[in-house]
């Protein structure tokens, strides 16, 4: 499964901050950790902040901390902030043909399994199983 860069960064940032909710890290700290530009990470943190998952900011040196519930928030909650919802997907060319519709049924089947998987893994479960929490 291919996630957009912003989605991946969103997951990295939330998981990194959720490891220790008392800790504050700036966009620059996080960008450094994942080897990306502060600009792209600041944008992602803005989205996470608007969703109430992190708090803080104010400038490049402003610190962010995790403000969600590790047990309640799943990977899907973060993915959904950055990826288009399956139902809101724009129709692809050829999808109205018989072959296009048959192919789309298979792709939807894959999406449903991927979504069920992302929705079943809480931040707590992921951080606990990878021994990074």
């Amino acid at each position: 499964m291919k996630l957009q860069t912003a989605t991946r960064l969103g997951l990295y940032a939330v998981l990194e901050l959720a490891r220790d909710p008392t800790r504050t890290l700036s966009a620059a700290d996080l960008a450094d950790r994942f080897g990306v530009s502060t600009h792209s990470l600041a944008k992602v943190l803005g989205t996470l902040s608007a969703a109430g998952l992190v708090q803080g900011g104010r400038g490049a040196s402003g610190g962010y901390r995790f403000t969600g519930n590790r047990r309640r928030i799943t990977l899907m909650d973060i993915v959904a902030l950055f990826e288009p919802a399956p139902g809101n997907r724009a129709k692809e060319a050829g999808e109205d043909t018989e072959i296009g519709a048959a192919l789309q049924r298979i792709l939807t089947e894959i999406d449903e399994i991927a979504e069920a998987t992302l929705r079943s893994v809480s931040l707590e479960t992921l951080l606990g199983s990878s021994h990074v929490g």
């Binding site: 799943t74 069920a116 998987t117 929705r119 079943s120 893994v121 809480s122 479960t125 606990g128 199983s129």
Partner: protein
């Protein structure tokens, strides 16, 4: 805290009632059959002797070509006692019994739209297994 013990015939009414309340389908005959001696059926009991939850499973070998594994067929926890580790205690007790019988894998099937139970099994460290379930509506 709850105590985990093997289910007895006298628990059947409470098990059946809890399941019917949570799933909306009453199936006492199904639960009675789960009591076979080669199957595992455990209940969690509160200090006051009320049913807090149950788990049912058995070891199956070569089903669908797979070597022996402990299957979890059902787990239910009374919503009143949820988030207190009852489900985890039941799961661990069943897993210990499977291990004592020499089995090193535990397996189950879950409705992929049932996020609550999927998350529960994930939190127990379970991941996608080696099989894919396939299905077809017969014309």
């Amino acid at each position: 805290m709850v105590a985990i013990r093997p289910a007895q015939a006298t628990d059947l009414t409470a098990i059946s009632a809890l399941d019917a309340r949570l799933t909306g389908s009453d199936k006492p005959d199904y639960w009675r059959e789960r009591f076979a001696p080669d199957r595992h059926f455990l209940v969690a009991e509160t200090a006051r002797g009320a049913l807090a939850g149950f788990i049912a499973g058995e070891i199956r070998a070569w089903e669908f070509g797979q070597p022996a594994a402990g299957w979890v067929f059902a787990i239910q926890v009374d919503p009143k006692t949820r988030l207190k580790g009852v489900g985890s205690a039941l799961f661990e007790a069943l897993a210990a019994r499977f291990k004592a019988q020499g089995v090193t894998r535990v397996r189950t099937l879950v409705d992929r739209k049932d996020h609550l139970i999927l998350s529960f099994f994930r939190a127990q460290g379970m991941t996608a297994g080696p099989s894919l379930q396939l299905d077809k509506e017969l014309p």
